[in-house]
Amino acid sequence: MHGWCGKILRVDLSSGRITGEALDPQVARDYIGGRGLGIYYLRREVDPACDAFGPRNKLIMAAGPLTGTAAPTGARYVVTTKSPLTGAITCSNSGGHFPAELKKSGHDAIIIEGVSARPVYLWIDGGRAELRPAEHLWGRTTHETDDALRSETHAKARTAVIGPAGEHRVLFAAIMNDRDRAAGRAGVGAVMGAKNLKAVAVRGQGEVPLADPAAFKAVNLKYREAFKAKTQDAPPALRTHGTAITVVGTQSHGVFPTRNFQQGTFEGWESIFGETLTRKYLVRAKPCFSCPIACGRVTRIPDGPYQGEGEGPEYETVYALGSDCGVDDLAALTKANYECNELGLDTISMGSTIACAMELYERGFLKESETGMPLRWGDGDALVRLTRMTARREGFGNLLAEGSLRLATRCGHPELAMVAKGLDFAGYDPRGEQGMGLAYATSPIGGSHMRGDPAYFELLGVPVAADPHTWEDKPPLVAKWQDLFCVIDAAGLCVFFSVRYLVEQDLMVKPVGITELLNAATGAGYTPEEVEQIGERIFNAERLYLLAAGFTRKDDRLPPRITRDPMPVGPARGMVCRLEEMLAPYYALRGWTAEGRPSEVKLKQLGLR
């Protein structure tokens, strides 16, 4: 095979047995890879009713055919598992260099099953793989673990590891690769911890085989030149300022979530947005493998109580640990971000859970006798302390480790958790951004923005602008973008480059460039329409898993704050998210029943029966 390595590594932690198996060429063609392979194997092998922390759950780490190639942003992999946070599927996506290294070791995916009796790590050295004891790494931070692994295996090994948060089964623990990149969402790191797997270290050999190297080179060059042409006068804002520049887009539209989504404008936004980060703390921009954009941030806080060095913050972190907690101290939230990276926590759910706790406290639903400290809006010190306590489940951290919905439910106010299906929202208030509301409510993993991100066309002008306040036009756009994101995540590409250069630049985003790259790499001879249908297949397969896990139409919903309480201030003042008006037409155009189930006709059409 080309593009694909044609090999899956299966690791049974219970028996310690490691086997290589062939990737079925038809499955590869029908699901592409990455997120597609993730749901394919999850549906086949993991009972949706199983205990997420038990031996029957599996952790599927899958790269795409473009991962590890010279394709622009061919850097990504996807971790798929049953989530302990939501009880549904989660698939979480990360870049850096680990995924490319995995491909270069000759593997498309690793399927990790069972539970090890003792802490172990997986060492993949080209075609050889072994499990090694990891007692000496247990309890160590992600950075310490990365250092130790590279000294024990190979200096050029790339790693994906859990920190103390994953070991303590914090329900939103991340898997950190290359030290500071995160497969962050919905507890993939907690599943890894429950399996007693501390890390995966990998060293590649050789390159990813290409079906038509000359054609691949030509297509690659074409899109890299397009990027150069567009950025010749000024570098992309994401390289200059990182994703935290996106605050401009959300604040100016009045959808920058503030104090647990009580409003969409934050008075302290200029203290924490990308330009301020650049001016005060940026050391350098850091690209992932094969990326021309370089949005990653290496930062340093030179002095003061939050002195430190690390990577971040990204936009989502600036929202979650910043405005959503009322924190306008960039040093404090950056320090909390460093802690999340080193302890292995999802910054979005960490911030959102603290924001929820702060609101519960401020309203008197949570007492100081339970929290052990005052939880006031804007308290940067509390942010850093609570992050540390959560990772090891110390004191009140043990409640935070269960996530915002369980915390708010325990306090008798589940409506104060800003979640869909139990997963905390990203940094966009759907009241002033209608499409995002539909995307949160229908995302197979819950409140994620990365399952068809309408912020591109609603806020950021990419590829063209659509009105964020209208809802009648959003169902077909959201469905189209959800399917597109399945394709991007399956191919092994990053959304950031793809939506601007590898799709037709209108709202229907036909994946022309992605198809060209896939064909040159794999020789599969896809048409763009076929690739679109694969996206639809993946999305529907994830939906089927969600339904099999017991979710129904009534779970496609948002908190009453979003659908009932009008936005109090700012440009979106007076608005609520018109979710109900959008859902019925959305189901209909997806070929789903009024109950949100894919119809028999649709399933047959997609080959899912």
């Binding site: 887009g249 330009e275 940094g427 002008g461 990419v462 009105d467 950031f496």
Partner: protein, 77 residues
């Protein structure tokens, strides 16, 4: 009439005095296109345009006291 304009990222290069927020005097009945011209932003430079927090385009009419926001299209957050 006077409008306030805020520019971000590399569009800041076109801001009067290089500041984030600036007041610009325009003729009555001016549009966003007139504002862009007053700031000497070339037509080839892409910008997302808002007036008072609502999406606008070059043809959008401005009123005295309006607040305009200009930033480059962004690849993501």
């Amino acid at each position: 009439m006077k409008v306030t304009v805020r520019t971000f990222a590399h569009l800041r290069d076109y801001a009067p005095a290089g500041q984030g927020a600036a007041e610009v005097i325009l003729a009555d009945g001016a549009t966003v296109a007139d504002l862009l011209a007053a700031l000497r932003i070339p037509k080839t430079v892409e910008a997302v345009m808002l007036v008072n927090g609502r999406r606008a385009d070059a043809a959008t009419r401005l009123n005295s006291g309006d607040e305009a926001t200009l930033f480059p299209p962004m690849e993501g957050g």
